[in-house]
């Protein structure tokens, strides 16, 4: 059953490779996305047994990430059909194959309990995204792809070194090197502290690069800015969640060692620095796709702070993982539409989107309101949980900085977003042929609906799932 969820997208990739028609090939994507969502739901209803050696297990943490990935991918897949209909001038074979392989690798990340396997899957997601960032085949996108490739490859290589250190710490402890999570957790107290700390630092740097934590985020604005909207959505909502899950696995071992202070402080520091970087670069950002990239830096910061704070913030962080993924989907897909319609992503050219393409402009505005943590949308709930937990734990400085950066980011983002959606559309715009269609508007609208719903009412199964996942990250003393 679990193998089915992981491997089915590969058939999709094969089909995408075989089908010769550029027009009908994108239909593969929604078909396999729906199959993936159904399979995911089935594994939730009928929990499958773990694989014999405990390599492949679906635990609550994996479930949270899997659910956000499958929903986001479904939206992106349906959107892709509409988007690629506008881009018939270019072969979409590589794009469709890359998306399917990436879905397979992302699913594998969520279910692997062997950290080596998790690393391989995470590296695969990095590689499959490279050709997708380069979809537009111009000088700017090649530059973005090169930076992304080089920085992320080096980052993920350092994570491998961190994993080796981790395995070595188990070897020093009891002469049996292992990377299997279910063997690491019970033995964590005996791990050699020096090697484990080294492992933690390298893993934080490695997975942090992949997540885009500042100051390791330098590839992010370029890659997010130049990639097509749907690829940006998957980068910001899918890959980020996968890398965060990898960090969560490491953190699970950190807790099990019994000495958590250092790790929590490191996470909180990285998180606050990320929010600070985002706040600085968000102000006066004229390129609205790059602005979204800095928003992503901000939100990985929020996730990491939530993780570092622990306690009630864990629930908030895990809920925020889901909310961030879905809201990023709304923002990137609608910004992709605006980009298509104006042929530019600079807020000095792009004005009056509400007038020119009311649906996409409206969704972009609503997405902005949601992502900055305004009620009634669900990111408000998760961010509020994290902040209140910070104050409840008497981390006043962190809470105050958090609020300050949120305020700066809100203002910075508002200047750009309002300039894009409000006002009069310039008269001298060239005709780009893009109009809001059902297929390019419905997916982000559906995601927006989910965010609104989750903000107003939390379904019981989801609450149980999040509490179960947070319990795995609870510090036991």
């Amino acid at each position: 059953m679990l193998y089915g969820v992981v491997l089915t997208p590969l058939f999709g990739a094969l089909l995408a490779w075989i089908i010769p028609s550029n027009r009908y090939r994108p239909l593969i994507l929604p078909v396999f996305a729906i199959i993936h969502t159904v399979q995911t739901l089935l594994t939730f209803i009928y929990p499958p047994p773990p694989s014999p050696h405990g390599w492949i297990v679906l635990d609550p943490l994996g479930k949270v990430v899997l659910v956000s990935i499958t929903l986001l991918f479904l939206a992106c897949a349906i959107y892709a059909v509409g988007y690629l209909a506008f881009r018939q001038e270019r072969s979409n074979r590589v794009l469709c194959m890359g998306l399917m392989v990436c879905l397979c690798a992302m699913t594998l990340v969520t279910v692997s309990h062997h950290l080596g396997l998790l690393w391989v899957a995470l590296e695969t997601t990095t590689l499959t995204m490279a050709p997708l960032i380069y979809f537009n085949h111009n000088a700017r996108s090649i530059e973005a792809t090169w930076k992304y490739m080089l920085i992320c490859s080096v980052g993920i290589a350092l994570a491998l070194l961190g994993l080796f250190f981790l395995a070595y710490s188990t070897y020093v402890a009891n002469h049996q090197a292992t990377l299997l999570l279910d063997e690491l957790l019970p033995a964590a107290r005996q791990l050699s502290p020096a090697w484990f700390n080294a492992a933690f630092v390298f893993l934080l740097v490695g997975f942090g690069t992949k997540m885009g934590l500042a100051p390791l985020h330098t590839w992010k604005p370029d890659a997010y800015g130049e990639a097509p909207g749907l690829v940006g959505a998957l980068l910001a909502g899918g890959l980020v969640s996968c890398a965060f899950l990898a960090l969560l696995r490491v953190y699970q071992i950190c807790i099990a060692t019994g000495a958590t202070g250092f790790y929590q402080q490191a996470l909180i520091t990285m998180g606050v620095v990320s929010m600070a970087f985002a706040a600085v670069f968000m102000v006066r950002q004229t390129d609205f796709k790059r602005m979204l990239a800095y928003s992503s830096v901000e939100h990985v910061g929020i996730l990491t702070i939530g993780l570092g704070l622990g306690g009630g913030a864990l629930f908030g962080a895990l809920f925020h993982l889901l909310n961030n993924g879905l809201t990023k989907g709304v923002l990137f897909l609608s910004s992709g539409n605006i980009h298509r319609s104006y042929g530019s992503k600079n807020s000095e050219v792009v004005k009056g989107a509400l007038q020119r393409i009311p649906w996409s402009g409206g969704l972009f505005l609503a997405g902005f309101i949601a992502i900055t943590g305004s009620p009634p949308f669900s990111p408000f709930v998760s961010e509020f949980t994290i902040i209140s937990s910070a104050f409840a734990q008497k981390h006043y400085l962190i809470g105050a900085l958090f609020l300050l950066f949120l305020a700066i980011i809100f203002i910075g983002m508002a200047t750009t977003v309002l300039a894009v959606v409000m006002g009069e559309a310039p008269q001298d715009l060239e005709e780009t042929g893009y109009r809001d269609r059902f297929l390019t508007v419905a997916p982000p609208a559906a995601l927006m609906g989910i965010i609104l719903l989750l903000g107003l009412w939390m379904p019981l199964p989801l609450a149980d799932l999040l509490h179960g996942a947070a319990a795995l990250l609870e510090v036991k003393s």
Binding site: V120, R140, I142, Y171, L179, A194, D222
Partner: protein, 212 residues
């Protein structure tokens, strides 16, 4: 650990200096390939013989000695670049830096809390020295292909450390990591090709349109 394996590790460190000192790309690519092959021999030499290790060694030699150099030579020929010009830090200074860091790697490795049976092995210092060489090449060279060789050397350094754990790493993970490496180099090769078409050069300092 036998003396032959030690000599191979010394050879690996010497290859680091070839990489730091050479301006011709064919030399660099061949040196990285040789380094890969040498590393591929090590798992069989230092552990007790087993079929699993033989497969790993064979896979590594095939990947690092044949497939990756072939991809890199292909990329080099398509873009018609033979030399690295004007690295950010000259060849002599990087060689000196390489020598200093290699010496420091030995000092550092002696202080690490290693398992008793790993004390005094050449694996740790050569791993650190190779890692740092990789970083030096990666950061000081301008041409995209040279940066890829730097990345490979970095990966080799990490791999040397993994030698301490060969028996613990399952086959599937080793194979997956190698496959990822090959695909990564393949994608980088394609990207290099597109860079040269777009910019008429693979000088990565020209990739500077995207900034704040």
């Amino acid at each position: 650990m036998n003396t032959f394996a030690d000599q191979l590790l010394v050879l690996v460190m010497l290859i680091n200096f070839i990489l730091l000192g050479s301006s011709r790309m064919t030399v660099s690519i061949r040196a990285v390939a040789l380094q890969g092959v040498v590393l591929g021999l090590l798992p069989v030499l230092i552990n007790n013989f087993s079929f699993h290790l033989l497969l790993i060694s064979g896979g590594i030699i095939l990947a690092k000695g044949v497939v990756i150099p072939w991809l890199l030579f292909g990329a080099m020929q398509r873009v018609q670049i033979k030399r690295e010009v004007e690295p950010f830090i000259g060849y002599v200074p990087t060689l000196l830096l390489g020598a200093v860091t290699t010496a420091l790697a030995f000092v550092f490795a002696a202080r690490l809390p290693l398992a008793p049976e790993h004390q005094g092995l050449l694996i740790i210092p050569s791993s650190i020295a190779t890692l740092i060489t990789g970083f030096l090449v990666l950061t000081t060279r301008r041409k995209a292909i040279s940066q890829v060789t730097g990345y490979l050397v970095l990966e080799n350094g990490i791999f040397i450390f993994g030698l301490l754990l060969t028996e613990a790493m399952p086959m599937m993970v080793e194979a997956g990591a190698l496959l990822d490496l090959i695909v990564g180099i393949f994608v980088m090769g394609i990207v290099i090709n597109h860079i040269s078409r777009e910019f008429s050069s693979i000088d990565t300092t020209r990739l500077s349109a995207l900034k704040e």
